[in-house]
């Protein structure tokens, strides 16, 4: 089995508080897994640790063939696509067009491929700041896909999206996954809106992984209750 993402005994402290506690995780190449849990359970911290934004205090992190150390973090980031939970832009009116954003990922044929895949050609010349939430997510997804990363990390892409737009977005992610076979880790707290392609659930509670197994097993109410400390 070709392991693409691996955490071994990872602990992360922030402001003296342990936010990730003995995380052990392995994702195979092409696997689609969802990380679920309450707010504050450590889901976002896990993604940020994989990218080196929150360095591990102990343990090892390996993503796309590189260790998350000083030399490896730039390599990881080049091979990984990331959609953060929210965009904090400084200016209310920004001149960037949708095409500008996509070109931050790649230009030419690679960008064109992502644009056609997500069917967003009609909005390319529009200013990104004027797009709807769903359109923004598609543009950002196109930026990520145009880089053709081996690993994609999505942090609660449902935020600021209505259910229809979110379903549409998930559909696009799944289509891209079927076409290109990336390893995908999707963080969400919407247990009733998990993508069909996601076969593996990783549940977190208070910085620990409390369940790591198949989707069917997680659907058992007793299992879910145990996973979330209930």
């Amino acid at each position: 089995m070709d392991i693409c993402v691996e955490c071994a005994g990872v602990n992360v402290k922030m402001n003296g508080v342990k936010v990730l506690n003995n995380i052990n995780l392995k994702l195979s190449r092409g696997e689609f897994a969802c990380v679920v849990g309450r707010s504050g359970s450590g889901k976002t911290t896990l993604l940020r640790t994989l990218l080196g934004f929150n360095p591990a205090d102990s343990g090892t992190v390996q993503v796309a063939g590189a260790f998350a150390n000083r030399q490896g973090i730039p390599v990881i980031r080049k091979r990984t696509g990331y959609l953060p939970q929210s965009l904090e832009n400084n200016s209310s009116m920004s001149p960037f067009t949708a095409m500008d954003i996509i070109n931050m990922g790649a230009k030419g044929e690679k960008a064109g491929g992502a644009i056609e895949e997500l069917k967003i050609r009609p909005i390319l010349s529009r200013r990104f700041s004027t797009l709807s939430g769903g359109e923004k997510q598609k543009v950002l997804l196109a930026m990520v896909l145009s880089r053709r990363p081996g690993v994609i990390l999505l942090d609660e892409p449902n935020l600021n999206l209505d259910m229809v737009s979110y379903a549409d977005f998930l559909n696009l992610v799944e289509t891209a996954h079927r076409a290109h076979g990336q390893t995908i880790l999707l963080v969400t707290h919407l247990l009733d809106r998990l993508p069909a392609s996601c076969r593996r659930i990783i549940a977190m509670d208070s910085g620990r992984i409390t369940y790591d197994g198949d989707r069917k097993g997680f659907m058992d109410p007793k299992m879910r209750g145990e996973a979330f400390g209930g």
Binding site: F53, N89, S91, R127, M143
Partner: protein
């Protein structure tokens, strides 16, 4: 046309273009206070350099880079916004500047010179320096357009793609500082702020795309500064004040036109 008018017009147009260009960075990064902080840092550098027998222009230039570097570094450690840290740095250099103005021989006069600028004394050396800095900044932006635009859009996303976001961010702040420093002696700290802030505020409504924004902001800065200078000469008005008011008039005028449609 009067030779001094030609030199003043050229100096102001180049100042306006350079400030308008880096004003885009200030606008996109949300750090409008940098102009004020840098102006006072330059003033502090010049005042103390004169007392120590060091070339005041070089000292002003060197000192002007400190707010950008210090506040960027402080933000990393304190996690407070750049504007907050810039305010602290501004206070530091304001204190140093007016300390120097108060205790050094001739300090008050030097402080006044850097606050108001001396566009009427601009010579071809100043014009050449302004042109060189403007072209250097433009070349740097062209060469590193990808990383710069990514950082201006969103620093976290830029970092997540493998860009050395901290280095690019610091370089952007240093470019802002460098442009402000070389313009300071010509246009003064008070005018500097308006030339950095107002052109991008005008340009953003009529821009689609970052390249567009950069060009329109630089052009707006150049034209508004030149118009203000021309009017000051024509009506025998203080140049600094006239340019600032002309800038504001440009902003007001721009609101009368519909912006670029989406």
């Amino acid at each position: 046309m009067d030779d001094q008018l030609i030199k003043s017009l050229a100096a102001m147009a180049l100042s306006g273009a350079g400030c308008g260009l880096t004003g885009v960075f200030v606008y996109m990064l949300g750090i409008p206070f940098i102009g004020v902080a840098i102006a006072h840092a330059s003033m502090a550098g010049a005042i103390w350099a004169a007392a120590l027998g060091i070339n005041p222009k070089i000292a002003a230039f060197t000192a002007s880079l400190f707010p950008a570097v210090l506040s960027g570094g402080a933000s990393e450690r304190s996690k407070a916004s750049v504007n907050i840290n810039m305010s602290v740095v501004f206070s530091l250099f304001t204190g140093l500047a007016f300390m120097g103005a108060g205790i050094l021989p001739g300090g008050a006069l030097k402080a006044s010179g850097y606050l108001w600028g001396s566009v009427l004394l601009a010579d071809y050396g100043d014009i050449a320096l302004l042109a060189a800095v403007l072209l250097s900044i433009a070349a740097a932006v062209a060469a590193f357009y990808g990383p710069i635009s990514a950082v201006l859009f969103n620093r976290e996303i830029a970092a997540s793609t493998g860009i050395n976001e901290r280095l690019v961010y610091q370089a952007i702040l240093v470019m802002c500082g460098a442009v402000a420093a070389v313009n300071l002696s010509v246009i003064g700290g008070l005018m500097l702020y308006s030339l950095v802030i107002i052109p991008p505020a005008v340009a953003v409504r009529f821009s689609r795309g970052l390249r567009n924004f950069l060009v329109i902001s630089a052009a707006t800065g150049a034209v508004s500064a030149a118009c203000g200078t021309f009017m000051a000469f024509g009506f025998n008005l203080p140049v600094s004040a006239t340019v600032v008011l002309c800038n504001c008039a440009f902003f007001g005028l721009s609101l009368m036109f519909p912006g670029t449609k989406d």
